[in-house]
């Protein structure tokens, strides 16, 4: 089962390596990881996507929480949540495919952020599966380079 875990931690040198060291040392896997400052500059938020059965996910959250610099651990996938990932794709765009590429980008509500005579750089935001979908569509046309941010996620607010 895929789980998206959100971790609040002290924004200090070495903290990220405590988290990644924990995963490598205990043989847990990380599918994606993204980290940045929160509103409070001394605290960072780290979103990681991992896979495992219930017992493994329980160990992962407990072990994360045991790290002294970790403030809070939430398995966001326990409840309703929104997740987003951004990808930058440089795709081949020559005379015969330029229009086709633009159509695809439009369908995925992407944006062209850089243009050259032979390529477009495209920005697309969405769930990991949407990002994967546009990659799959553009691949036959000729992807030259991609950069993905990894997933970030937020629990949905209570509707009451």
């Amino acid at each position: 089962m895929k789980h998206t875990i959100s971790v609040l931690l002290q924004n200090k040198p070495g903290v990220l390596s405590r988290v990644t060291g924990l995963f490598s040392g205990r043989g847990f896997n990380i599918e994606s990881l993204s980290v940045a400052e929160t509103l409070e500059p001394s605290i960072s938020c780290l979103t990681l996507v991992t896979r495992g059965d219930e017992a493994i996910i329980e160990q992962i959250t407990k072990q994360l929480h045991k790290l002294i610099d970790v403030i809070k651990v939430t398995d966001i996938s326990d409840s309703e949540y929104v997740e987003r990932e951004m990808v930058l794709i440089r795709v081949k765009a020559e005379a015969q495919t330029r229009a086709e590429v633009l159509r695809v980008i439009d369908i995925f509500r992407g944006k062209v952020v850089d243009v050259s005579p032979k390529s477009y750089a495209v920005e697309v935001t969405g769930s990991a599966s949407k990002v994967q979908a546009i990659i799959d569509i553009l691949r036959p046309i000729g992807i030259q380079e991609i950069v993905r941010t990894g997933t970030i996620a937020m629990a949905r607010a209570s509707k009451k």
Partner: protein, 566 residues
């Protein structure tokens, strides 16, 4: 506010924590600290290798329950300490390790004796720090002690760049430490306690399975009260020995790979396993699906990650063992459901079954005329020290025989590297223990292999008039590995024959210690008596039955009921 130097501030922090003795080895990066130490009332024990410093601090911590402190220099000084730090980490021993570091402007430049010790020790410390700013120095030191001794204890390393400790700093008054992100749970959930107690009342074949957590939280009295009140048999892990009196009729001794037949059979047939401060280590459980297959499991531990890590737990109780056991005793004392005589009587058939197992396969060995059996040496040590000595061990057969045949009746008289299994632990740990309790007899039970891993600390023992006794069970083999080779590798003794072993009697003399040797069973008692009567460090070289094995033994990966017996 009056300013003092960073190194003076560090020494003041140690004094504030009540530290009297530290173990260290100097180097360029920590000269300032050693200099400041000279003006204090703290004794630095100059070891002969940094691994010895950290093991000695660890030995002191285990027998006193206080935080042990080691002071090492940068680079190789720090890396030499790593094995001993990992040893303490695996066994949850509270230590503060201070390491020197190159001056901050040189960090990352591959400077002389520079190493990223914070990076290296991240997976084997409870927490660690690099102090880059002198104004953080005092707060960091205080936090380090707080983290080391609270919750599930462990080693904390503080890396101290040379320029940082040279700066002048304030020394503010100490306030209670509150950390937003670190608040261990001491008090058990009352609902869980009640659930556990009610389950215990229903059990017909209960077993208490006791680990090092009981020692660490000083919960031995509460545990003993619970076991006797409810007439429940007790088994201990290697780390839990002394948590319950070994000569009590309810004690089944150690369980697991080299545990007693009784303890392993009892766990396998129990309907309720009450784990207290233990972590279901593979050396305890053997094949996991065959471990306590019929039992409901209650697990008390202060570290939530220990619960349901290896074995699914039915009633988890996250708490300090002492608090949880106190709450359980209180529940039974006040509950109208609990009738002491009735419960005690209801466990009698179970205790009878257990007694039959012990009768069938007691902890024993075969006597062979005048050949020295290692188990006999341990029995004699137990007898002649009235079971009251502090015993440290090296690792391997010597460690298992000590665990099996010395009757530990009190906590904190036993220091052994359980989790990491570090050869070379016993001698420096014995020195640490003896520095803490000069009036007590401290014996390192060793093998001829492992004693050589930190033999240099004999000089330390001599320099500080720290007369520890070393009992070498000498079989001229790396005996435990040889035993595996005998049993599972067609007696191919690859790499386990110690073709050259020093003359330990002469070696002892070379270090200014006393060396004694026994080659016959009839000489053992006299050698031990003489060693105990000598006010000097003594090596007792017992030339033992060469191919003696440790039994019972559960082969790796087998169920704990599939024991090889004497």
């Amino acid at each position: 506010m009056e300013k003092i130097s960073g190194s003076q501030a560090i020494i003041r922090c140690l004094q504030e924590e009540g530290i009297k003795t530290i173990f260290g080895f100097p180097g360029g990066a920590v000269i300032d600290l050693f200099d400041a130490l000279m003006d204090s009332d703290i004794t630095n024990v100059l070891v002969r290798h940094e691994q010895g410093a950290v093991h000695a601090a660890d030995g002191l911590a285990r027998v006193t329950g206080e935080v042990g402190v080691a002071l090492l220099t940068s680079g190789p000084g720090a890396t030499n300490g790593v094995t001993a730090i990992a040893t303490a980490y695996m066994d949850s021993i509270p230590l503060v390790i201070l390491t020197g570091q190159v001056p901050t402007p040189l960090i990352g430049n591959d400077a002389f004796q520079e190493v990223d010790i914070v990076g290296i020790t991240r997976p084997c410390t409870k927490h660690n720090y690099l102090v880059k700013d002198a104004k953080d120095l005092v707060a960091t030191l205080r936090e380090a002690f707080h983290i080391a001794r609270t919750g599930r204890p462990g080693p904390v390393l503080v890396d101290l760049p040379k320029d940082v400790v040279a700066k002048m700093v304030d020394f503010p008054e100490k306030k209670p430490i509150r950390m937003q992100n670190y608040q261990p749970t001491y008090e058990p959930h009352p609902g869980q306690i009640e659930k556990a107690c009610k389950k215990i009342l229903k059990a017909k074949n209960p077993v208490l399975y006791v680990g090092g957590g009981v020692i660490l939280s000083n919960a031995n009295e509460e545990l003993t009260e619970l076991a006797r009140k409810l007439n429940i048999p007790v088994t201990m892990t290697l780390m839990g020995l002394g948590g319950f009196p070994g000569s009590d009729p309810l004690s089944m001794g150690m369980l697991g790979m080299h545990g007693s037949y009784t303890a392993n059979m009892a766990v396998a047939h129990s309907d309720l396993l009450i784990a207290v401060g233990a972590r279901f280590d593979d050396r305890v459980t053997g094949r996991l699906d065959a471990f306590a297959p019929h039992a409901t499991i209650i697990h008390i531990d202060i570290d939530p990650t220990s619960i349901s890590k290896n074995v699914k737990v039915d009633i988890p109780i996250v708490a300090d063992c002492k608090h949880a056991l106190t709450a359980m005793n209180a529940w039974f004392n006040t509950s109208s459901d609990f009738n002491r005589e009735q419960v005690a009587a209801s466990h009698e058939p179970w205790l009878e079954t257990i007694g039959e197992w012990t009768k069938k396969h007691p902890m024993c060995y075969l006597d062979e005329g005048d050949i020295i059996k290692p188990q006999y040496v341990i029995e004699k040590l137990d007898e002649l020290t009235h079971g009251d000595a502090i015993i440290t061990t090296e690792v391997g057969q010597n460690q298992m025989w000590a665990a099996q045949f010395y009757k530990f009746n009190k906590p904190r008289q036993w220091a052994t590297s359980g989790g990491l299994g570090t050869m070379g632990y016993g001698l420096p740990a014995a020195i640490g223990a003896k520095m803490a309790f000069p009036e007590k007899t401290v014996i390192d039970v060793a093998g001829d292999g492992s004693i050589q891993m930190n033999i240099q600390e004999l000089a330390t023992a001599n320099q500080y008039k720290c007369p520890v006794k070393v009992a070498i069970l000498n079989n001229n083999y790396l005996g435990m590995v040889r035993q595996w080779q005998e049993l599972f590798y067609n007696k191919r003794y690859a790499g386990t024959v110690m073709e050259v072993t020093p003359d330990f009697v002469m070696l002892a003399q070379a270090y200014g210690a006393v060396g004694l040797r026994a080659t016959k069973k009839s000489e053992v008692e006299a050698v031990i008596k003489e060693a105990l009567a000598t006010d000097n460090t003594v090596i007792m070289d017992f030339v033992i039955a060469r191919e003696e094995c440790v039994f019972p033994m559960v082969p790796a990966g087998k169920a704990t009921t599939e024991m090889l017996l004497v």
